[in-house]
């Protein structure tokens, strides 16, 4: 074991050293991300130190939401202008399937952990696609108005289906993913049977029937900022969104919102490098990725936003919020206190069934 990691480390450094020294790397790069607080955290943790080290000019593009479609269009036009793109894992899989993203070898192209653990082991199961370099673990989970739930704040995700105890509107994302899983879970399906059940037409009907019970009380959102706004306005009593959005509403804007971590849906966000870059740009992109996804950098990002670093070795390094000075660990979706009961999203299953289920979901919505 020891020997193996040592050789891996030696191999890594041997390969990295000449690459970092090579002069034929592009001195400008375009990095695509989500914008807002998330891009700011990346700028602080990755872009600024990388530019300071190398003198490379980094151009930010905030197009991650349409990254897949745009990359496909760029690829067809034969002019890919992006060097590194931040996407969610499901999109990374799709880009990989479409041949639009480059395959990455974690052992040679990613940095090993400080203790010598190889990148492949350090990221572990989170390397869900050959093209994907995980960066953070985030979750889609629920926030509720603390002043609108009385003395019994919700403790289970099934509170969203309980109109008697928690009357009022709820906001849910306008897509089947997560919602159908929560519906089945709250309809009594065991967690491990959820995807087997969803694979049958009856299972899909069962999930939609459960959602039907609250359909008239749901506000459907498409942008992550909507739920915090709806909660702040008192339009909804509870709603799902990304945990980082709720953190900033609670900790940075002091809204009367509580977190409901039960059955939070884990998801990954990370980098891909577009296929078909010129050698110089590819070398630059790989060099950036090697730097930006090492143990320390991933831990640094958590100072600015409450998303969990994707490396196991980064977790102990997570410190305090850069401005508020509060401990970040308890706000991470991966914190043991929060991760008691989580929902693990099945990428492969959704890649196969997304289109089919989406058609049914949209038809149900339009009814």
């Amino acid at each position: 074991m020891k020997l193996k990691t040592l050789t891996a480390l030696a191999a890594t450094t041997a390969l990295v050293a000449p690459m970092a020294m090579a002069a034929d790397m592009a001195d400008e790069m375009t990095i695509v991300s989500w914008g807002g607080a998330y891009s700011a955290s990346q700028k602080n943790a990755y872009h600024d130190p990388y530019s300071a080290n190398t003198g490379v000019k980094i151009i930010n593009d905030e197009s991650s939401a349409e990254a897949v479609a745009k990359l496909r269009a760029m690829n067809e036009a034969g002019n890919v202008t992006w060097d590194v793109v931040d996407v969610v894992a499901a999109d990374a899989m799709r880009l990989c399937d479409e041949g639009l993203a480059m395959e990455i070898d974690p052992d040679t192209q990613l940095a090993a952990a400080p203790d010598g653990t190889s990148a492949a082991d350090d990221f572990g199961d989170l390397l869900v696609s050959e093209c994907f370099i995980p960066q953070i673990v985030y979750s889609t989970t629920f926030g509720y108005r603390t002043d609108m739930v009385g003395d019994t704040p919700p403790e289970s995700v099934c509170a969203i289906f309980d109109l008697d105890a928690y009357p009022g509107k709820r906001s849910l994302q306008k897509r089947p993913i997560d919602n159908v899983e929560w519906a089945l879970y709250c309809d009594g399906v065991a967690k491990e049977d959820i995807y087997d059940t969803l694979s049958t037409p009856e299972g899909v009907d069962q999930a939609l029937a459960k959602l039907d019970t609250i359909k008239d009380n749901v506000v459907w959102w498409t942008a992550g900022a909507e739920t915090p706004q709806l909660l702040a306005d008192g339009e909804v009593v509870m709603g799902s969104t990304y945990n980082g959005r709720l953190f900033s509403a609670i900790a940075e804007q002091n809204q009367p919102i509580g977190m409901l971590w039960d059955m939070q849906s884990f998801d990954l966000d990370g980098w891909i490098i577009p296929a078909g870059l010129s050698e110089e740009r590819k070398a630059r992109a790989l060099d950036y990725i090697m730097f930006a996804t090492d143990t320390q950098r991933l831990a640094d990002q958590a100072k600015y936003i409450s998303y969990g670093p994707a490396r196991k070795s980064s977790a102990p390094l997570v410190g305090k919020h850069a401005e508020l000075g509060i401990d970040m660990a308890p706000h991470m979706p991966t914190d043991p206190a929060n991760a008691g009961n989580v929902h693990i999203y099945d990428y492969e299953w959704w890649a196969d069934n997304r289109d089919d289920l989406d058609a049914k979901f949209q038809a149900w919505l339009a009814k």
Partner: protein
Amino acid sequence: MSDTTQTGPVLAADGTPLKRSLARALRMQKIRALMLIAPLLLFVLLTFILPIADMLFRSVENSIVPDNLPRTVVALQDWDANSGEIPDEAVFTALAADLKIAAEAKIHTRIGSRLNYEKPGISSLFRKAGRRVKKWDIEADGPFTEQFIKIGKGWGDPEVWRTIKTYSGTYTNGYFLNAADMQKGPDGAEWRPENEQIYFTLFKRTMFMSLVITVSCIVLAYPVAWILANLPARTANLLMILVLLPFWTSLLVRTSAWKVMLQQQGVINEVLVWLGLVADDSRLQLINNQTGTIIAMTHILLPFMILPMYSVMQTINPTYLRAAKSLGATNWTAFWWVYIPQSVPGIGAGSILVFILSIGYYITPELVGGTKGVFISNRIAFHISTSLNWGLAAALGTILLAVVLLLYWAYDKIVGIDNVKLG
């Protein structure tokens, strides 16, 4: 016609027949005019017509399957899709050979994605098979049937093979069928199951709501345009700014403002509750439904109705109304029989503008439409940017374009397109 003149054709000064000389002069003029607009024509052709044509062409294009699975497609020709059995070993060998090449070019997953639109599950069958097939020796490692089924049970499902066979042509009508809530079944086109039908509903809704928005724009814009046209120029110009100011404001800002106004804890509901007109626990649902879309879009599109109406009304001579009245018409008669007919070209132009703009509207319905107030364009956007099913998006877009052209033609027949004036 039967008049055969004694003299020959009329000659121009240089002796050529006048007719030919005139034609040449006209032709020169036409060419010169064409040269003048050539830059614009080329620009529109290159940046607008061609890309749209290319995009619409995707609605029938299916070459990815026959181009990358050539042997399989040929081998499948002899297989009877309705036999209920999987194809024989020859087909599996052909697939292995095709997939090996495709996997080396990393294109196998794209074929999988394409076929997955038609049958869920195929995507991962191709992804998994591609990984293995790369290591196979096609000559030596057969037979392949069992090996494929071991990789993914789906390869033993005749339905999967039927899908591949059905979508093996260079062109397909599958996207259009899908856009019309239909699918290719064993016996040709058939309706999709009821819980997947959505597009017909959306087309109907888009038409209906665009019509409602157009009508409410006419109702609101007509008096405004009338006042503007009949006030002294100074006051009219001042009021005109009030019409144009929202027109110059960002669309997103206006839509978000409507959110603040219309939501249940929003301005309108708060005022109604304060006045006691609405009980606190039964606030009006004004947003995230059709009402929200209609209110917000009527407001946003109103200037497109006011401006053409105003410019037409300005040209209506007020003496006509006075003449009608002096001949004994009441105010109403004069207005209805003299003023309205003259303002119809403005109504027509405004209606066409508003209707066609609203049919293709996307961002406002997305933000305030909830589930019942979204348009077909929202689905097109979804298929372009999220599901990546560009073929289906193109088919929906083609249908929308055809419907608009059809309506335009009908409008021309009923009202007459000559009867439209922008000023």
